[in-house]
Amino acid sequence: MENLIALLIAAPLLGAAVLLCGGRRLDAVGHWIGTVLAAVSFVIGVVLFADLLGRSADDRTLTQHLWSWIPVEGFKADVAFQLDQLSMTFVLLITGVGSLIHLYSVGYMEHDERRRRFFGYLNLFLAAMLLLVLADNYLLLYVGWEGVGLASYLLIGFWQHKPSAATAAKKAFLVNRVGDMGLSIAVMLMFTTFGTFAFAPLLGTQEEPGIAGDASEGTLTGIALLLLLAACGKSAQVPLQSWLGDAMEGPTPVSALIHAATMVTAGVYLIVRSGAIFNAAPDAQLVVTVVGAVTLLFGAIVGCAKDDIKKALAGSTMSQIGYMVLAAGLGPIGYVWAIMHLVTHGFFKAGLFLGAGSVMHGMNDEVDMRRYGGLRKYMPITFVTFGLGYLAIIGFPGLSGFFSKDKIIEAAFAKGGTEGWILGGAALLGAAITAYYMTRVMLMTFFGEKRWQPDADGHEPHPHESPRSMTIPMIVLAFGSVFAGAFFTIGDRFLNWLEPVTGDDHGHSPLSATTVTLATMVVLVVGVAIAYGQYGRRPVPVVAPRGSMLTRAARRDLLQDDFNHVVLVRGGEHLTRSLVYVDHTLVDGVVNGTAASVGGLSGRMRRVQNGFVRSYAVSMFGGAAILIAATLLMRAV
């Protein structure tokens, strides 16, 4: 069985290789090759899943060792995989949603002459992402980690002729690199501390814990924080969140797959996977929770102000991942719920993005929600699927989001003490805002009267429902976003499934579950109501009103980019420019100066050679005198 693991990765990797090297002759079939291989990977995943289910709970870890990667004295890194419940969950999510979005893209990218390459990149992403979750050591995970970064770079910048896209791609890669730096240093620290960075010896299992605990808490906190830095980069958490909004420059399926469902959640995977380390570093965990809480509010606020539908959803993604990170920071109480929210979010957020894509598809790629309105009549399927996703994300009772998010809020309170109250409060507030901005999106897009106008080159958009290949995935995902939560929760299926890996801990919540649920309901209603008051009852202005200070700040991602620009970009430019100057004038100047001075000396010395015999004679005479004097002197001393 375990030999199948490699195939999971091999299939999409093969696809990427074939599609990228195949050349134009594959243009006709390229997209199908890509889709099929993604599906193959999914099927393999299902087979493995079935196999795992067939085993006893404590025996659900498969490993496969391929080859010794970097064998150096005292240093061992292998290409080997580990498939346990956690990675299995991700495999299914990645390959499943991935296949759907491949299918969706077939229609969405129909008119793009570089569709083959697009599918090549998508496959490349799948392979990298699977490598990330299947690696059995941190270094190999790092390969996948940067691999998905590369794929995301290529896909965000897929429309490279657009400078904005190219810039966004570069920005995404760079910000991620900062995070990656954290990961690589973390790996180094692990190596110097434990002499290894493989999961099994390091993290161990619930029964026999690994050597992670043996190190001093200081070291562990260091490792944990470095891992958190990495997670922040990949999962767009404050302070490294700035790239996600711009990443929406990429084609919408990319936003759905990479920047909503899978890649951006890699950070959560990393933290949960490294649970053994975090559990032993409470300070680090606190930081994690804080980052999560801040980000979930940050994202939510940003989401409220955006008129670009994708950017609004991006803000929402940021915020939802904030929930997951918060949960992951809570330790064993939260790990399971973090992952569960991750999965459900994978469903409904992907669905929402696909819906947005479908809307744009019908609206000549118009993204400004102020130019939508009343679309429910024109694209009913999109409307329904999108609506279900909407209900799920705001946590409408019974739908996926309700279960997962509720559990997280509960766990946040369960942290206990002031921290518990603060975190829980933040989570609740976040829920309210989520309800607000999602309702806003919903209303501006599908309700009210139509507000669209001819675009630059005079085409009046003709909103229409998207082709089958696009709607089917939306429908499937809608199912997911409706039922997944309930399915997971009833009988604690999800808990029991993951518990052997993540451990479990109910903690003692100051508030009863029902209280929390009620509170959630209340804030939900409030949020929806406010939104309805603003956008449901009166017409939406086509030109955005100036808005309050906060609104304007939020439109600019709460000025975080401006900060980056002023401090990092400008500062960096000045630094490099001055260094170039220094290199030329100082470092080079010293050398050239020396040469020049020798030359000058030469010029002065050759004037002695003035052509007059008698002065030559003088020098000889003087020389003789010196010679004699010196000789006598030598004897004297």
């Binding site: 002695v608 015999v613 000889m620």
Partner: protein
């Protein structure tokens, strides 16, 4: 009383003649010098009696044969073991026949032979009135630009006297490093100097400069030799003798019997030190060491290029030979006095030569300054005062002389309307015009710069190694620095030749006769062989490294 008795009151009978024993003279061991001197005299007779149009050939033939024969003689002597086991003092203590002497004589003779080829070259200058002409004045006595000169040129005169002059100079140089008493040293000095003075004045083109060079060289040379002579006098006064061995004994204080008459002078160190200093100064003048170097650039530039090449090579060899012998045979007891001084001279010579060369614009002057720098490097080896020091210097001299002659031979090839185009700007883009000549010259320059796989590197390594072993590490460092500086201007010429665009009115490269070609070829060959496989010659040098006293 008897007449005889009376007569004996105011006369005494002189000793019978037989009591003055006839000078003993080892012709065999002196043969190299004798052959050359003899040939020189023959050359004079040739000038006197052979009709003009045959003279050139006769002279070239005589000189070539003589030099070759002399070289053969040297080789024979060396093979006979005179360099090592049978080393001895010949000619009643006047001449030393030992390793260094033979090695240097061999080098000088080869240099002379190769130099002779460049002297005899007659293809470079365009033929005047159908007469082949060489680099020497048609008639040295006629005033430049005068009718008599034109007439001489028209008549196709050539100064074939240069060949005997060359031979005389060579003869003097052969004796110079072998001289075993100060008188012989002085006479040899003059014997090879005077012909050189004359030859400097004999250029066919740019005669004013040529004559000026001669005057400068002559006056300064005479000035210097006066110093030498006075130094000799002082040493004579110090030791009561001019033979090296005796002086050395006195210096070491190992003299057997002190003649009571000499007590007030003998061992008077003031005499010794001043005298030694003055003699050494005279030799430093010949090798062109700072601050006695100032004649070098002017003379090198003004003299006919073949003469310059010969002079630059052979004079250095001879003078360094003599210097070595003086310092190692006569004054070893004094080394704690002269070593520091020589240190100073070596340092200023290396640096001075290298630095001033940077800003030169005339190829011949540049080579002159480079030769000064090289004199400094060689001095570093001299200072070592170890057998390795001697052999390294010998090797360096051999290597250096061929590079020099070759380089100047190449200079004779690059010509424009005014004769040789020695201004550096004229050499721009030579590599494009005639890659071969440029490449050859580049080889010589690289050898000067001491790039590995050329003889220059082997030599430099040898002397620096010797110096370092002799405990002169700082000198090595300075030497390295100055060779770095020196590298700069050699490189500059290469850049000029290969990387800059040739100027349309640039010089032409004359196609030489086999003579010059041979000279250059030998130069290149020696440069590369000594660079790649120096071991055999190093062996020669180190076998030859021991002076007889």
């Amino acid at each position: 009383m008897s007449a005889v008795a009376v007569h004996s009151l105011w006369t005494t009978a002189a000793d019978p003649i037989s009591k003055i024993d006839a000078p003993k003279f080892e012709y065999g061991q002196m043969s190299p010098t004798l052959i050359v001197v003899g040939a020189a005299i023959v050359g004079v007779l040739v000038e006197a009696f052979v009709p003009r149009k045959f003279r050139y050939y006769a002279q070239v033939f005589v000189s070539a044969v003589a030099l070759a024969a002399a070289f053969a003689a040297v080789v024979a002597l060396a093979a006979d073991g005179y360099g090592t086991t049978k080393a001895r003092i010949a000619a009643m203590g006047a001449i030393a026949v030992d390793g260094p002497a033979l090695f240097l004589q061999g080098t000088i003779l080869l240099a002379g032979l190769v130099g002779l080829f460049t002297f005899a070259e007659r293809r470079l200058d365009p033929a005047a009135h159908g007469n082949r002409v060489d680099s020497f004045a048609a008639q040295a006595a006629s005033v430049p630009g005068s009718d008599s000169e034109k007439a001489a040129v028209k008549a196709g005169f050539t100064t074939t006297e240069v060949f005997p002059l060359l031979l005389f100079a060579v003869a003097g140089m052969l004796i110079f490093p072998a001289a075993n008493d100060l008188l012989t040293l002085f006479v040899a000095l003059e014997v090879f100097s005077l012909p050189l003075y004359l030859m400097c004045a004999l250029a066919r083109r740019k005669r004013l400069m040529s004559q000026e060079a001669a005057v400068k060289y002559f006056l300064l040379g005479a000035f210097a030799s006066a110093f030498t002579l006075f130094g000799i006098a002082l040493l004579y006064g110090y030791a009561g003798s001019v033979t090296y061995a005796k002086i050395a004994q006195v210096v070491d204080g190992t003299v057997t019997t002190v003649d009571p008459a000499l007590v007030d002078t003998m061992g008077n160190d003031a005499l010794l030190l001043i005298g030694a200093a003055m003699i050494v100064m005279g030799l430093l003048f010949k090798v062109g060491a700072v601050p006695f170097h100032m004649w070098t650039p002017d003379v090198y530039q003004g003299a006919p290029t073949p003469v310059t090449g010969f002079m630059a090579a052979a004079t250095k060899v001879a003078a360094f030979g003599a210097l070595l012998r003086i310092l190692y045979v006569v004054l070893p007891g004094l080394r704690w006095d002269w070593r520091p001084v020589m240190w100073g001279v070596a340092v200023v010579t290396m640096l001075g030569g290298a630095i001033v060369a940077i800003t030169q614009t005339d190829i011949k002057r540049m080579l002159a300054y480079s030769s000064i720098a090289h004199a400094g490097f060689i001095l570093a080896g001299v200072i070592a005062t170890t057998p390795d020091g001697v052999s390294s210097v010998l090797f360096y001299l051999a290597a250096y002389s061929f590079v020099t002659i070759g380089a100047f031979a190449v200079v004779t090839l690059v010509r424009d309307a005014g004769g040789e185009a020695t201004h550096l700007s004229k050499w721009a883009g030579l590599g494009r015009r005639s890659p071969l000549v440029a490449a050859v010259f580049a080889v010589f320059l690289l050898a000067f710069a001491g790039i590995p796989l050329t003889s220059g590197f082997a030599g430099k390594f040898a002397v620096f190694k010797a110096a370092a072993e002799g405990g002169a590490a700082p000198l090595v460092v300075i030497g390295v620095i100055s060779s770095a500086i020196a590298a700069f201007f050699y490189i500059r010429v290469i850049v000029l030749m290969f990387f800059s665009e040739p100027s349309p009115e640039g010089p032409t490269v004359a196609v030489p006769s086999p003579l010059t070609t041979t000279a250059i070829g030998v130069g290149v060959a020696v440069t590369l062989v000594l660079g790649v496989a120096p071991q055999y010659f190093l062996d020669l040098a180190s076998q030859a490294g021991v002076f007889v006293r």
